[in-house]
Homo-oligomer: 129 residues x 2
């Protein structure tokens, strides 16, 4: 498929997809006319990148995450260690999102009236985790 379809399936702009090719995160085939030709696998990869980037993982971390699945040469216990490491990072992020959500929920509940109360909720948010 062309880059446009890959873009709408992966939720990434074409510009970004071309950039990911430039930095060798993907390597799509080329059609006879010179157009990039994306496979379903390519789109899955792009979709993964879109999500992981949106969750605050750097390109380097994305490369690592991708390699966890794809690098057949790495020793199994290394894969496991890295996976476990990433899992605890993910747990941390989930906790932080939950505390942020809780704060926003409280805010939304308390701001029903016409006047915004002077809620110092940010203090709790910034303190906790």
């Amino acid at each position: 498929m062309n880059i446009g379809q890959a873009a709408s399936l992966s939720q990434l702009p074409p510009k970004t997809i071309r950039y990911y090719e430039e930095i060798e995160l993907i390597n799509p085939a080329r059609a006879e006319n010179g157009y990039r030709d994306y496979s379903d696998g390519d789109v899955h990869r792009l979709r993964f990148l879109q999500r992981a980037r949106g969750l605050g993982f750097s390109i380097t971390e994305c490369r690592l995450l991708l390699s966890l699945y794809e690098d057949k040469n790495r020793a199994s216990h290394d894969v496991k260690a890295m996976a476990l490491d990433k899992i605890s990072e993910i747990d941390r992020k989930i906790n932080e999102l939950n505390s942020l959500k809780e704060t926003l929920t409280t805010l939304a509940e308390h701001c029903n009236g016409d006047n915004k109360p002077d809620c110092p909720i940010i203090e709790d948010l910034a303190r906790g985790s």
Copy 2:
């Protein structure tokens, strides 16, 4: 307190903190000697920024989130609408992190032996959400 202490409390490098001042995300006091002087409130703000940035929110979004708490002039229903909007975004991120975590957990469990199996888990990951 000086920038070094603010840095270690907020988990942000001093460079980044100075940059946040430059783009007017914080406005610390100055001591007589010209050193920046951070209050507890400043540190909370920095800590919040550190977390929100790490969760994939852009600087613009961080500004919005901060303004939700601090802008006394905005109408209450606007605050509520924005808060609810951010809450659904947070829910989406949490779901994505959970699916990513599940995938990595499966990977870690399946990669106990000496040889890494050829798991096509990435397919599920990239497809789902």
